[in-house]
Amino acid sequence: MGARSSMQLQEEEINEIQRETGFSQSQIVRLYSRFTSLDKSNNGFLSREDFLRIPELAINPLGDRIVHAFFQESNDETVNFKQFMRVLARFRPIKTNQDKNKMNTREDKLRFAFKMYDLDGDDKISKDELLAVLHMMVGANISEEQLGSIADRTITEVDYNKDNQISFEEFIKAMEKVDVEQKMSIRFLN
């Protein structure tokens, strides 16, 4: 695997990422190894194809949206290691010591989930967007009308300012009782 890759990652870069994301040195080195193994063309950044080459991601119904999250971070056609780490940082478990939470606060995690729904990035989830995402999740197994009524019900339940769209604040309020910590955190080993 990326046995020699840890030599290519500079000490300062590791420190910078550590300050920014809160990952430990060994985690950063291991994740860099993973990054380089995904980078088949060996040019220091990942493309969409590199991500979708992972079979388990390619069969994830929302695989494209997840990959899109990385490219939104980079605002470009490619993702470098720092941008890669910034997205992964959202999934770090929330630490009890408040200072240790860099990019993985409850709000950060909720924003990641919100952006999965918000297809056009206008900070609001419209009914069409919700329908489109529902479609991705269930495929052809549920009819249009039923999906439509699910979308209607969902929006009505959380839409407080009655603009028929879900804003980020409304989303946060809707997720009040949800254990976001558990659902949006990955168990990183030291």
Binding site: R30, E56, I59, K95, F112
Partner: protein, 456 residues
């Protein structure tokens, strides 16, 4: 005078080499062993232990200077743990497969079947599952060499370890010299002799009329040549359950490298199946085909499934022919798992003799990463490793049960091989090394999720 000295010195150097080579050839033809290779392996293990201690001391010193780890260490006492695939970064909570959809590991399947209304938070399962697979997935890691828990003194697997201690560097340096300037030439000579002898003998055998004598002679010659070739890789193979050795039918095994053929052929004779190649490989194929029936397909014939099955069946039905050796994965996997078996050999309707091969990767990785290395480079890699140490288990023969189709039968055989060899049993297709995932595979996770939803 100078010339005379030079000649005597050269012959003095050659004499031991030649005598060792002759010794090896004699032992190979008799099928005996002096046990030197096993003692060599034990010595290597002791050297590795020494290296491991040095490295763990070095790592401890390195970590003591890293403050931020202390806090994390208190909260999360799990350290990078080793499992069959090497060192993990995360522990996966959610699994996804194209036959079972998305499953949450900690919850029993019954609760997964409970119906619930759609909630905006449902997207979190998909998101977490997806990001987990980006960090660590079950499939792509099988197509690169397995990581070692501790260094085995080869620079190709080092993390820069050969710079950390003078003693370690010296040992590594000595090992390097030993491997490249002593073992490699010796092994190359054996390889050339083995291949040459095989080609010559099979040419002679080819003139004999078909019959018992030809078969027995072929068996003797084949075993001898492959034993020579196995010594050319310094292969130390331990065979288990030889009572299950195949005498006819089809023998299936997990595939890690072309070396698999040599490893298996030094204990039993097989008819090989493969695509007809050009060059040296083609010469070998034609040579072997003179002495006994092998099946070499032209490129065009490979596409025709019926033709393939027909030829396999014809061969298997002829009891005078050797058992066929097939690798149903279709490609080389890194020996940590067994991937999907192609159903072709399981449709023929004959007895299947499964064989599990497990390499000890401490002595050199036998995996052929065909997307990164050509065959020649791979063989050179093998010949400059310490040794090829492996275990071969002959499993009891299996037949297709009534009411079972070829795919189910193939999966059953695959599970048996995985279980015996201590490998992970995966349903994924080894062709994913190069091919893309089919879009239709998304359907199962979608279907499973929609089953969960309570719709008005």
């Amino acid at each position: 005078m100078g010339e005379q000295l030079f000649i005597t010195l050269l012959s003095l150097c050659f004499a031991p080499v030649v005598s060792v080579v002759i010794l090896v050839l004699v032992l190979a033809s008799l099928g005996k062993s002096l046990g030197i290779r096993r003692r060599y392996v034990r010595l290597l293990l002791q050297v590795f232990e020494f290296g491991k201690e040095k490295i763990s001391r070095y790592n401890k010193n390195k970590q003591n200077g890293d403050d931020s780890d202390e806090e994390d260490a208190n909260e999360n006492t799990k350290t990078l743990c080793e499992n069959g695939n090497g060192l993990n970064v995360i522990e996966r909570d959610i699994s996804i497969s194209y036959s079972k959809g998305i499953r949450i590991q900690s919850i029993s399947t019954d609760i997964n079947d409970v119906k619930k209304k759609f909630d905006l938070s449902d997207i979190m399962y998909f998101a977490k599952c997806g990001v987990e697979t980006i960090i660590e997935d079950d499939v792509t890691q099988r197509f690169s060499a397995e990581e070692l828990p501790s260094w085995n003194l080869l620079s190709r697997t080092s993390y820069g370890y050969h710079y950390i201690s003078l003693r370690l560097t010296i040992i590594w340096g000595l090992g390097f010299l030993a491997r490249y300037f002593v073992l490699l030439p010796f092994r190359l000579i054996l390889a050339v002799l083995g291949i040459g002898w095989l080609i010559v003998c099979t040419a002679f055998i080819g003139y004999l009329p078909a019959g018992k004598f030809k078969r027995e002679l072929n068996q003797y010659v084949s075993l001898m040549c492959f034993r020579i070739l196995s010594r050319a890789c310094s292969a130390i193979v331990t065979f288990h359950n030889s009572e299950n050795k195949a005498k006819n039918g089809i023998c299936v095994a997990n595939h890690t490298s072309p070396i698999d053929v040599i490893v298996l052929s030094c204990d039993n004779c097989y008819a090989l199946v493969g695509q007809a190649q050009g060059g040296l490989l083609g010469v070998l194929q034609r040579a072997m085909a003179r002495a006994t029936a092998h099946i070499w397909f032209e490129r065009s014939e490979v596409k025709d499934r019926h033709l393939v099955t027909k030829r396999l069946k014809e061969h298997v039905d002829d009891l005078d022919k050797l058992p066929m050796l097939i690798f149903p994965e279709g490609t080389c996997i890194n020996n940590t798992s067994v991937m999907m078996f192609k159903k072709g050999s399981f449709e023929v309707g004959t007895t299947i003799y499964p064989v599990a091969i497990k390499y000890d990767h401490r002595f050199g990785d036998a995996f052929w990463n065909s997307s990164k290395q050509g065959m020649i480079q791979h063989l050179l890699n093998i010949m400059t490793s310490w040794a090829v140490v492996c275990d071969v288990w002959y499993l009891p023969p299996m037949s297709k049960l009534d009411g079972e189709d070829a795919v189910e039968f193939a999966n059953r055989v695959k599970s048996e091989i995985a279980r015996k060899g201590g490998l992970v049993d995966l349903e994924w297709d080894g062709q994913l090394k190069r091919a893309k995932v089919k879009d239709s595979w998304k359907e199962k996770p979608q279907e499973e999720y929609s089953k969960m939803l309570k719709v008005d």
